[in-house]
Symmetry: C2
């Protein structure tokens, strides 16, 4: 899941007129927060090119629904865009970590909440031009409050908001984070009966 | 717009308990496709940290609406995720390029279409944890077909799809690209009368 499977030059691809074959590559940055690669590829017409991208282990975002209908979000300073953003609790997956375990961990670390029930929402690609990142969106309910366990150097504040308040922020373009917009939209679709969520208790969900 | 304004250490910030001050930095990768930076920052409690991120000039995505209601999309191989993705015509802004000029250019280069009317949709952040990228979403109608002018090494195919077909793909999780999901959602809201678009002719729009 972390490293997309890349068929070799001889393999069939359903879109051979679009497909790019990897023929080599190098790591440009490694060891810190980002891993940056430059691969040598052959384009569909056989001509050579390079592709620079972030090799990413993927991330989760959790849409946590309180029993009274309010939603649990976090506010944090996002240095690259120099803004405080309102977002679903979310975080990067540790290499090899099961996606749901990551979702449970991030929800608890950032907000203190644990959840009795979980439902898988879907997978999105947020920067496919230059990052291998997937974000897997999960929904959580049956929430129990607890103390956040933020990493050293993590400054995150928990915010409880009604669905209508969050929708109003989105309408005023005050909710620019993509996973938060999409998770809210899926939540609204589920409420409206036009998107299915299959709920499992936390123990069962972890075995799926 | 390309480089977020960063108040210096003495400046006031509405969220001082979350804000991170830049105190220095270095460029890790430059000159190719990606510009990767590592900044030295002071966290809200004054402790030092580093932030690695992509410095990005921003991108546009265009939701092009044909007179018969069908939508113009593109399919292309996204090497970092090793998948062919269905997306709105989109592309990176040249440094200093006005956003609408970029939208007009990318629509024409990738699909050949030009548009008589344009409406601004909104701004999203797709990878705020590690990229300064903004994606500005525009809507285009009054479309006139023409010949695409793809860059050398660009392999992109144009696809015309009805709104219901695109919604069905999204419901089946076959539309994972975030800007495409969000643009579709905004289009549906506009059709439903719950999101406003202000249309301008192409000449007027360019002067806004």
């Amino acid at each position: 899941m972390a490293d997309p499977e890349r068929p070799g030059p001889g393999a069939a691809h359903p879109d051979p007129h679009l497909f790019e074959h990897r023929v080599g590559g190098t790591t440009l940055v490694s060891g810190g927060f980002l891993e940056v690669r430059r691969d040598d590829v052959l384009l569909p017409d056989g001509s050579p090119a390079t592709r620079e991208y972030i090799q990413h282990s993927g991330a989760v975002a959790v849409v946590p629904i309180l029993d009274d209908g309010r939603l649990v979000l976090v506010r944090q300073y996002r240095y690259p865009v120099a803004k405080v953003l309102l977002e679903w609790p979310a975080g990067k997956r540790d290499p090899g970590e099961p996606v749901l375990a990551c979702a449970m961990r991030e929800l608890q670390e950032e907000t203190g909440y644990t959840a009795h029930e979980w439902a898988y929402g879907g997978e999105i690609h947020n920067a496919a031009a230059y990052s291998s990142e997937s974000i897997w969106i999960w929904f959580a309910r049956g929430l129990v409050a607890g103390a956040p366990r933020l990493d050293h150097g993590e400054f995150v504040e928990t915010v409880l908001l009604g669905e209508a308040e969050l929708d109003a922020l989105a309408s005023r373009d005050e909710l620019p984070d993509v996973k938060t917009l999409i998770g809210l939209h899926w939540l609204q679709r589920w409420r409206a009966g036009t998107r299915r969520l299959v709920w499992h208790d936390a123990v069962t969900a972890a075995t799926l």
